[in-house]
C-alpha cells in the first residue's frame, strides 16, 4: 500500500513538472509571435507615419558632429 502511494506521489511530481515546463515554453513562443504579428487594421497613426516619410522637414540637417 505504502509503495503504491509513493509511486503515485512521484508520478504526480513528474506530471506537474512537465506541465510547468510546457507552459513556460508556450508562453515564450506566444510572446514572440505577438511581436511579429502584422498590422491588420489601419488607424490614423499608421497613415500619418507613412505620410511623414514622404516629406522632408524644412529644418532637417545633416549631422557631422561638433568641432569642440
Amino acid at each position: 500500500m505504502n509503495k503504491k502511494i509513493i509511486s503515485i506521489i512521484f508520478l504526480l511530481i513528474i506530471v506537474i513538472s512537465l506541465t510547468l515546463v510546457y507552459t513556460y515554453y508556450n508562453n515564450f513562443v506566444s510572446e514572440e509571435s505577438h511581436y511579429d504579428s502584422p498590422i491588420k487594421t489601419i488607424d490614423e497613426n499608421n497613415v500619418s507615419e507613412e505620410i511623414d516619410e514622404l516629406f522632408i522637414e524644412e529644418d532637417n540637417e545633416i549631422e557631422i558632429g561638433e568641432m569642440f
Binding site: K3, I6, S7, F10, I13, I14, S17, L18, L20, V21, Y24, Y25, F28, I42, E44, N46, V47, S48, E50, I51, D52, E53, L54, F55, I56, E57, E58, N60, E61, I62, E63, I64, G65, E66, M67, F68
Partner: protein, 281 residues
C-alpha cells in the same frame, strides 16, 4: 524490494530536478539574445555607413533629392569651418600653437570645394555623398581631438558660448537654398500623393508654398482627408504610400550594399582614391 523502491525514488527526484534545470535555462535564453543584440548594435556603430546616412540616401533617387543632401552637407561643413576658424583666432590671440588645427581647417576647405563641385545628376553622386560625409565627420573629429589637447574643458566651454550663434552670408544663402529646394521636393511629393489619393487640393499646396501653412498642418489635413474615406479606399491609398516608402528604403539599402561590396573590392584593387566606383546600378 526496498532497494528497488529507493532507486525509483532517486530516479524520480533526478527527473524532477532536471525539468527544473531546463526551465532555468529557458529563463537565461532571453538574456543571451539581448547580449547578441547588443553586440550587433555595437558592430553597426562601427560600420562606415550608419543608419542615419542610409536614411539620408533614401531621397537621393532623384536629382532634387541629391541637391538637397549635398547642400545640407555643404551647410554642415561651412558651419564647422566658421566655428573652427573662430576658435583658431581666439587661440592665436592667447599665443597657442594652432598649426595642426589650421591644417585640418585647410583640408576641410578643400572638402567644401569638392562638395560644391559635385554634379548631382551623375551616377556616382550617392557614393560621393557618403564619401564626403565620412570625410567631414573624420575631419571634425580630428579637430575636436586636437583642440582638446590644447585647452581644458572650462576654456572650451567659454569659446563654445562665444561662438554659439555663428552666422555668415554664405551660411545664410545656403540655408535659404536648402529651404527652397525642400519646398520644391515637398511640392513634388504632394502632387504625387494627390495623384494616389485621386483628388488634388491646390489651395493647400499654394498655402504651403506661400508659407501660410506649415508642413505639419498640411500633413494633418492630408491625413484627415484619407481617414475620412471608406475602409477599402483608405487601405488602398495606405498600401500605395507604404509601397512608395518601401521602394525608397530598398533602393537606399541596395546602394549601401553595393558600396560595401565595392569597398571590399576597392581594398584589393584600387589605390584608395575611389574614382570609378559608381552606384553600380
Amino acid at each position: 524490494m526496498k532497494k528497488i523502491s529507493t532507486i525509483l525514488i532517486m530516479l524520480m527526484i533526478l527527473i524532477s530536478i532536471s525539468s527544473l534545470a531546463i526551465a532555468d535555462e529557458a529563463e537565461e535564453d532571453p538574456e543571451e539574445e539581448d547580449e547578441y543584440e547588443e553586440t550587433s548594435e555595437g558592430e553597426n556603430e562601427t560600420d562606415d555607413i550608419d543608419n542615419n546616412t542610409t536614411k539620408e540616401i533614401e531621397i537621393m533617387n532623384n536629382s532634387l533629392g541629391c541637391e538637397i543632401r549635398f547642400l545640407q552637407l555643404e551647410k554642415a561643413i561651412i558651419k564647422n569651418l566658421l566655428k573652427g576658424e573662430m576658435a583658431v583666432d581666439v587661440l592665436k590671440g592667447l599665443d597657442y600653437n594652432t598649426t595642426d588645427l589650421e591644417a585640418i581647417l585647410s583640408e576641410m576647405k578643400n572638402l567644401l570645394e569638392d562638395v560644391k563641385a559635385v554634379n548631382t545628376s551623375s551616377n556616382n553622386s550617392i557614393w560621393l555623398f557618403v564619401k564626403y560625409k565620412h570625410e567631414a565627420i573624420n575631419l571634425t573629429k580630428q579637430f575636436r581631438e586636437s583642440i582638446k589637447e590644447l585647452l581644458n574643458g572650462e576654456k572650451l566651454k567659454q569659446i563654445r558660448e562665444r561662438i554659439k550663434e555663428m552666422m555668415s552670408e554664405e551660411l545664410e544663402n545656403c540655408s535659404k537654398m536648402i529651404r527652397n529646394k525642400i519646398k520644391q521636393f515637398n511640392r513634388n511629393q504632394l502632387h504625387k500623393l494627390y495623384g494616389i489619393i485621386g483628388e488634388a487640393n491646390n489651395t493647400f499646396v499654394e498655402e504651403y508654398l506661400n508659407g501660410n501653412m506649415s508642413l505639419a498642418q498640411l500633413k494633418i489635413q492630408i491625413s484627415k482627408t484619407i481617414n475620412q474615406m471608406n475602409k477599402e479606399r483608405k487601405y488602398q491609398i495606405f498600401s500605395e504610400i507604404k509601397e512608395e516608402n518601401i521602394k525608397k528604403k530598398i533602393h537606399a539599402q541596395s546602394q549601401v550594399e553595393d558600396m560595401n561590396k565595392n569597398k571590399g573590392k576597392g581594398k584589393d584593387n584600387d589605390n584608395g582614391n575611389g574614382n570609378g566606383k559608381g552606384k553600380g546600378k
